[in-house]
């Protein structure tokens, strides 16, 4: 479903991604962990060209983007259609209701029939447990509810891959669970997902593969069991120890 080869990204002099290779099968959930500044968010944003990679190729759902060549706007937009993004700060449109936020992609962009799109949008709201919030504006919703609308908005695009950029980092602790539950359900339904997160419980419970990134490289990868219980690399061990320390403070 996803095939990434030698992905590089530099911001000026600073090289943030130093050659990432990754293959993801259809239906897999990949969780990316790592310290801040490790490049994990940049990596995710490169997958739908919110950041334009400096070099490398990414294939998603059969469409290949070769970043060593210039891309036209049209090519970028076509490539973006393969995936949908869920943001750390939700980024809902504050002047639209929850329902209209979800409809914006299918109706305004994809020009789908409004009645059908609405039916589907309501089903998606139901799926994320917010069927009674269709007419609420984002500011009337809690952070967790907003993020679930964000997930529904992304799903409405019918992407082949869902990208999650620290989807629970901005949430109050008691609201994290409801968002993770929706994501777990999605993973179980066979959605292909790449998730950048600090939620180790989610990584342990839902990931098919865990990647540990540091300084722009994938340092270690494997099943959750391998990475969390039998890490091979010194940097991974140090990172995991630090997190576990804060867990027990």
């Amino acid at each position: 479903m996803i095939s990434i080869k030698n992905l590089h990204k530099s911001f000026g002099e600073l090289e943030v991604l130093k050659g990432i290779d990754l293959d993801v099968e259809k239906g897999q959930t990949i969780v990316v962990i790592g310290p801040s500044g490790s490049g994990k968010t940049t990596f995710l944003r490169c997958l739908n060209i919110l950041e334009k990679p400096s070099a490398g190729t990414v294939e998603i759902g059969g469409l290949v983007a070769d970043f060593s060549k210039p891309m036209s706007k049209k090519q970028i937009m076509a490539f973006r259609k393969q995936s949908a993004m869920v943001f750390q700060h939700y980024n809902l449109f504050p002047h639209m209701t929850a329902l209209d936020n979800i409809l914006e992609g299918p109706v305004t962009v994809q020009k789908k029939d409004k009645a059908q799109a609405k039916e589907k949008a309501l089903a998606l709201l139901d799926k994320v447990g917010l069927s009674d919030k269709a007419d609420s504006y984002p500011h009337q919703l809690s952070g967790g509810q907003q993020q679930r609308v964000g997930i529904a908005r992304a799903l409405a695009l019918e992407p082949k891959v869902m990208l999650f950029d620290e989807p629970t980092s901005a949430l109050d602790p008691e609201l994290v669970g409801e968002v993770l539950q929706v994501m777990k359900d999605l993973a179980q339904e066979g959605m292909t997902m790449v998730v950048v997160t600090h939620e180790m419980r989610f990584a342990k419970g839902a990931a098919d593969e865990v990647l540990f990134m540091d300084s722009g490289r994938i340092v270690e990868r494997g099943t959750p069991d391998e990475v969390f219980n039998r890490p091979q690399e010194e940097r991974t061990k140090r990172f995991l120890n630090l997190i576990q320390d804060t867990d027990t403070i």
């Binding site: 973006r80 993004m85 943001f87 449109f93 914006e104 992609g105 962009v109 994809q110 992304a154």
Partner: protein
């Protein structure tokens, strides 16, 4: 003293009352016929120009940025009255003759366009980057993003400063008197020239300007309330 003479002289008081009464209707007529249309048309055209200019300023195309900068700099750097005089008295000397009303509309629109473009540019820049990114990821084009996401939010932010611009414009239309538009202030001048009651006529004109601007500030309040329904307080 003027005040003393009014109250010690009932005949004069009566004369002033008569003039005030008879001049009120012509002043209102001039306001409805010229002052308001001049304000509204210039504001709408100016706003359109302002959005285009603001977009040019924030575009990545150097030439567009440059054109917008020069335009704003010239308009903001020269007096409105001078601009109107150039349009109405200056251009005919090179063979371009414009009637008073269209000349005034052009002058005021260019003026509003320059000032409001800075308001709109600031409002657009105040919208968080995440909104652009969210629009990007759901596949919106640049113009869809502007139309559906950015400008609706920017217009909320712009209501107070743009109301200022509009209220200033209403009062600035009095300058059109000097290029022979028979708007309210010019009518006041014409009537005063026949009866020499300058304080009365200009006072009446001032009162009507103030009433118009007061009503506009009420409209501003309502607009702000309407936009605020999707913002938490």
């Amino acid at each position: 003293m003027y005040l003393n003479s009014i109250f010690s002289n009932p005949e004069r008081l009566e004369r002033l009352g008569d003039i005030a009464q008879s001049s009120f209707l012509p002043l209102i007529e001039a306001a409805v016929q010229f002052t308001l249309p001049l304000s509204v048309i210039s504001f709408i055209l100016g706003l359109f120009l302002a959005v285009v200019t603001a977009l040019a300023r924030i575009s990545t195309v150097r030439v567009l940025q440059w054109i917008a900068r020069v335009y704003v700099s010239i308009i903001r750097g020269t007096p409105l009255l001078v601009q109107l005089f150039i349009l109405f008295y200056g251009l005919p000397t090179v063979g371009v003759t414009i009637d008073p009303f269209p000349a005034a509309v052009i002058g005021f629109s260019l003026n509003v366009g320059a000032y409001a473009s800075e308001v709109i540019r600031a409002a657009i820049l105040s919208i968080p980057k995440g909104q652009w990114e969210a629009a990007d990821t759901i596949g919106m084009s640049y113009s869809q993003t502007l139309r559906r996401v950015i400008l609706p939010q920017a217009s909320r932010v712009s209501v107070p400063p743009l109301s200022n611009t509009f209220i200033s414009l209403v009062k600035d239309t009095s300058l059109a008197a000097l290029i022979l538009v028979t708007e309210m202030f010019r009518v006041a001048q014409q009537i005063a020239a026949t009866n020499y009651e300058f304080l009365l006529l200009y006072g009446q004109a001032a009162l009507i300007y103030w009433i118009i601007c007061f009503l506009l500030s009420l409209v501003q309040g309502r607009l702000e309330n309407r936009f605020d329904r999707y913002v938490s307080r």
